[in-house]
Point group: C2
Chain length 373, copies 2
């Protein structure tokens, strides 16, 4: 296989299991990508990521552009070498962060002018600039520069925005000249099926090695996404990887895999870990619970992660209450391992022809858990 | 060898190389003990500690008594099991923290009443209570409960305090009934040679498996300690381990080993690591330096720690400026490795008969460095 090749091994309903080739090796899908915003997955090192089964790390164009700067990373041999991660890296386009983090944004068709959330310095990102940054980083999968609208948005605004995203995709494609990097286009269109399908038609009219759904997880009621996905995902090109950006909970992942999505990323498992929230096969729990004070059992008896093999709930609770860094480390390892294992099991059950029963078991576990928390 | 046995292999001047046996195995001396205040050496896991050559971890009685409580740790199988560290553990007596951290202290011959710095709750620690806590923790080396005076102190106060420390040692010894644990006495006496030697005579009149010098690193000009050590350390029992508590810099360690000290602990390498200060054989440096922005060399070309084998100064600088947990982790690993390597080299040169030249090389490196920083 060569970079960009995507082989589908099985399809069960809309769900599929595949292999995507990149310049830094294969990615088995469905896959959850760990978010390494500033050239590190928060609290973890690369050996821990590998031990959890991480296949791809996501880097953030916006953050790395501001600090340390893509030219610095390029001089140092690229993002892989800089952060000592030698498996695939996907970078986002910077669009999402420009619209959610930066100050004093000024949007024109040319691009977006904004002030850094770090020091107020003025910056300008265009499709061409986003491609340049991502190519300098040496990313394996490069995302087209898009506009990510907040929810809710008016129809006129949605249409203007998706048309802009389409124009920006054409410019992104023209500017993306790095051999080996794969450019993915991003479908926008808000939360209405009509606009989604229009955007999908626009974006997929451009031949690319992969396509993503952007603009979810932007504050909308989550059932809207769950309802849209089965109508949208199957209409994405069947022989190309499909990436649902910034999503989501274990429940979201199972619903989306069932709708035909192949790739995911989300800060949730790492972020909530640092706040003491733990994912288990029996539900989401807070490590703070008083009942864990003298509990010498692991977080999850079904888990074989480093944390669960070596440490008790009582110890993790103590570390969390004491604000110890090791607490953030151990909780993060567990949550990332949980997400990786969830996708590994999904691949296993797709391969074994037992996807439906696995899916239904997950849905009942995670829906129940959602109701409880 | 059985717990408490201390074998001296070589002596060069006053410096010695030895082996101390504990219930959790041997300790090769001179040794630096990593400080694991709240049942974790900040930012590190136990595998990283072992990879750095850590032989002993120090736990803090005061902190562990307040949270999670020694009874909880005892129920969970003791401190070794709780924190997953199966090599020797030394616990301090709680005295130093009571006098430096706690609020509203009230000292009587019976013990010290104080309010927790965490929640203001009232507590009382006596020699008997300190022994009970340390025995519950299952510590291999238990420190006698002492009063640690601040510097400067008046002669009358020093004498009162050292007499109290002696009485408390007798009570500590009577209360320490745990087989396998080794009780060390603590010499006080402030910064005058006269009182130090008087306290030494008092404390060493009690037969114990080891003796410590307390009351250093309490704010005094450091040259006072450097001047006192050669007059005090050699007068400590020759065939028992000698422990200099809470000390110190690499320079302090070399001076103290040369004076005949065997054991050390200090929060410095871990604390300064989190603030971006790095120990190297060429001096102490701040990882923040602008000149490191594009420096792809390791922290120290002479170092073979995990951090130096995998990461550049540029990456560590980026992590530090970004406030990333991985930065604290990698800096801490490097500094702890540096301290462990310093003691390993000291043992090597004592064994090879090249101690004096190693010592002189270290002194010129570290004194020069001190002048620069």
């Amino acid at each position: 296989m060569k970079p960009g090749d995507f082989q589908i091994h099985e399809t069960v309903g809309q769900a599929r299991r595949g292999t995507l080739m990149t310049a830094h090796g294969k990615i088995e899908t469905p896959v959850f990508m760990a978010v390494g915003t500033r050239a590190t997955v928060k609290a973890m090192n690369v050996e821990e990521l590998e031990a959890c089964g991480t296949q791809v790390v996501l880097g953030n164009t916006y953050h790395l552009h501001l600090r340390p700067g893509e030219k610095t990373i390029r001089k140092l041999g690229g993002l892989h070498k800089f952060m000592n991660w030698h498996k695939p890296i996907l970078t986002d386009s910077g669009g999402f962060q420009v619209f959610s983090l930066a100050n004093l944004r000024h949007l024109t068709e040319a691009g977006v002018e904004f002030r850094s959330h770090l020091d107020g310095a003025k910056h300008f990102i265009s499709p061409e600039k986003s491609m340049e940054i991502q190519m300098d980083l040496g990313s394996d999968i490069i995302m087209a520069f898009d506009e990510c609208l907040k929810y809710p948005a008016e129809e006129k605004e949605i249409r203007r925005s998706m048309d802009l995203t389409y124009k920006w995709l054409l410019r992104s494609k023209a500017a993306m000249t790095r051999p080996g990097s794969l450019l993915f286009g991003i479908v926008q269109g808000g939360l209405s099926l009509k606009h989604r399908l229009e955007s999908l038609a626009q974006i997929t009219s451009v031949d690319l090695p992969g396509y993503a759904l952007g603009g979810f997880s932007v504050g909308e009621p989550i059932h809207l996404m769950h309802e849209l996905l089965p109508d949208v995902a199957p209409k994405m090109p069947a022989h190309k990887p499909r990436y649902l950006m910034g999503v989501g909970t274990p429940l979201d992942l199972i619903i989306a895999v069932d709708a035909g999505i192949d790739m995911f990323d989300c800060v949730m498992p790492t972020r909530v870990a640092r706040n003491g929230t733990i994912y288990t096969w029996r539900g989401k729990v807070s490590i703070k619970r008083a009942e864990y004070k003298e509990d010498d059992s692991p977080l999850d008896p079904e888990c074989d992660c480093y944390t669960c093999r070596h440490y008790s709930k009582a110890y993790l609770r103590h570390l969390f209450l004491s604000g110890e860094i090791l607490g953030s480390r151990l909780n993060t390892i567990h949550n990332i391992h949980f997400y990786m294992k969830l996708m590994e099991r999904a691949r296993h059950h797709l391969a074994e022809g037992t996807w439906e029963s696995f899916r239904d078991d997950c849905l009942s576990r995670f829906v129940k858990n959602r109701a409880e928390t």
